[in-house]
């Protein structure tokens, strides 16, 4: 007996033949396609359950929590070694006395980056993701409670170095800042289009090294804007200081917005 509607099998048909049958029943005609219709002893439960629903709900709570405290949160994403932590150290020192900054540091292991941030003069919470390749909204919820960033401050969330997975997971930030560096290939935007599509700003770091490299900034810009036509790109060097005033102005503009 078909448990979906209680009909009895058509005589002579094997159990396996009954999937995908059409029949009339109670005066109504309906069909059971093999894909949507289970076996005779089973039933289907219809869902429209988004796999990111739980993360997105927590991210929305984080966003609201940050908004009520007027804290600007940015999610720094990049490949490993692009200079995210160096940029944060430099930014903390460069904006000392003007902007209060706290940092959530995401790495698979070690407390090292949080120690570097504290040495630069900001408060930091380290989140170790273990086997995880990205931060998620739940980790950030806990880190926020622990860090308790003061009203009107800047919260930088340094994600795990990875240009794939963090693109998918909203943390509750205002926007994602992609740190790309000229020691990587200039075709990164087309290789990692999800991230460049999700970004709100690109900082193109280590530009002081350009004379020694074959990196083509115009090619990089064209590819980045092909994935995301509105994406602004600021060339900087976190060590030599190029472009940092423009980065600080951008940050302060976002804080005022």
């Amino acid at each position: 007996m078909c448990q979906t509607c209680g009909c009895t099998p058509i005589p002579g048909l094997e159990e396996s033949d009954r999937e995908g049958h059409d029949h009339k029943h109670h005066g109504e005609s309906h069909s059971h396609g093999g894909d949507s219709h289970g076996h005779s002893d089973s039933r289907m439960i219809q869902l429209q359950a988004n796999l990111l629903e739980k993360n997105d709900a927590l991210a929305a709570e984080n966003r609201e929590w940050l908004a009520t405290r007027k804290v600007l949160a940015i999610n720094l994403v990049s490949s490993p070694g692009s200079g995210k932590t160096t940029l944060l150290e430099r930014t903390i020192r460069g904006l000392a006395g003007k902007v209060s900054i706290s940092v959530i540091e995401g790495d698979q292991a070690t407390e090292r980056d949080a120690e570097r941030i504290r040495a630069a003069g900001a408060r930091a919470v380290q989140v170790n993701t273990g086997a995880g390749c990205h931060l998620d909204a739940h980790m950030v919820t806990h880190a926020l409670r622990e860090l308790d960033p003061p009203p009107g401050s800047l919260l930088a969330i340094e994600n795990v170095g990875n240009l794939v997975c963090p693109a998918l997971f909203d943390l509750g930030e205002r926007l994602k800042v992609i740190v790309a560096s000229v020691t990587e290939g200039d075709d990164k935007p087309e290789k990692y289009p999800h991230m460049f599509r999700a970004g709100g700003l690109v900082l193109l770091n280590k530009v002081d090294l350009l004379p020694h490299l074959s990196f083509d900034p115009q090619r990089f810009t064209a590819m980045a804007q092909r994935t995301n036509p509105e994406l602004p790109i600021l060339p900087i060097s976190a060590t030599a200081g190029d472009g940092l005033d423009a980065w600080y102005s951008w940050l302060q503009g976002q804080m005022a917005a």
């Binding site: 289907m44 359950a49 997975c165 087309e190 999800h194 804007q225 994935t227």
Partner: protein
């Protein structure tokens, strides 16, 4: 490997919704424009399902093609990757499908 976390999420949602029944099949829609590999989810699924009402269940993944509409000339396009140009030259596309990442239905016994 965010597919591992997403597969665990599939198991968690299915366990919550299966009303105590055994799950024989999970039908999942994965858009072609998401950064999610169906093969990686299939690879994780059996392991994640062990010891749950989904043990031995089949993960049936339906891939949803990427469709977009040009905001400039309103032409509909198919996207193979998460970016593209309209023949009119515009890069400004509104995505219509291809970002799905959801459980559509469960077959339970």
């Amino acid at each position: 490997m965010h597919e591992l976390g997403l597969t665990q999420e599939v198991i968690e949602i299915a366990c919550r919704k299966c009303e105590g029944a055994r799950v024989r099949r999970v039908v999942l829609e994965v858009g072609l424009l998401t950064a999610v590999l169906p093969d990686a989810m299939l690879f994780c699924f059996d392991l994640c399902a062990e010891g749950t009402p989904l043990e031995g269940a089949k993960l049936d993944i339906r891939q949803v093609p990427g469709k977009a509409r040009c905001r400039k000339c309103s032409k509909d396009l198919t996207l193979e990757q998460p970016f593209g140009n309209c023949p009119c030259g515009s890069l400004d596309l509104e995505w219509l499908s291809g970002q799905e990442l959801r459980i559509v239905e469960l077959e339970v016994v």
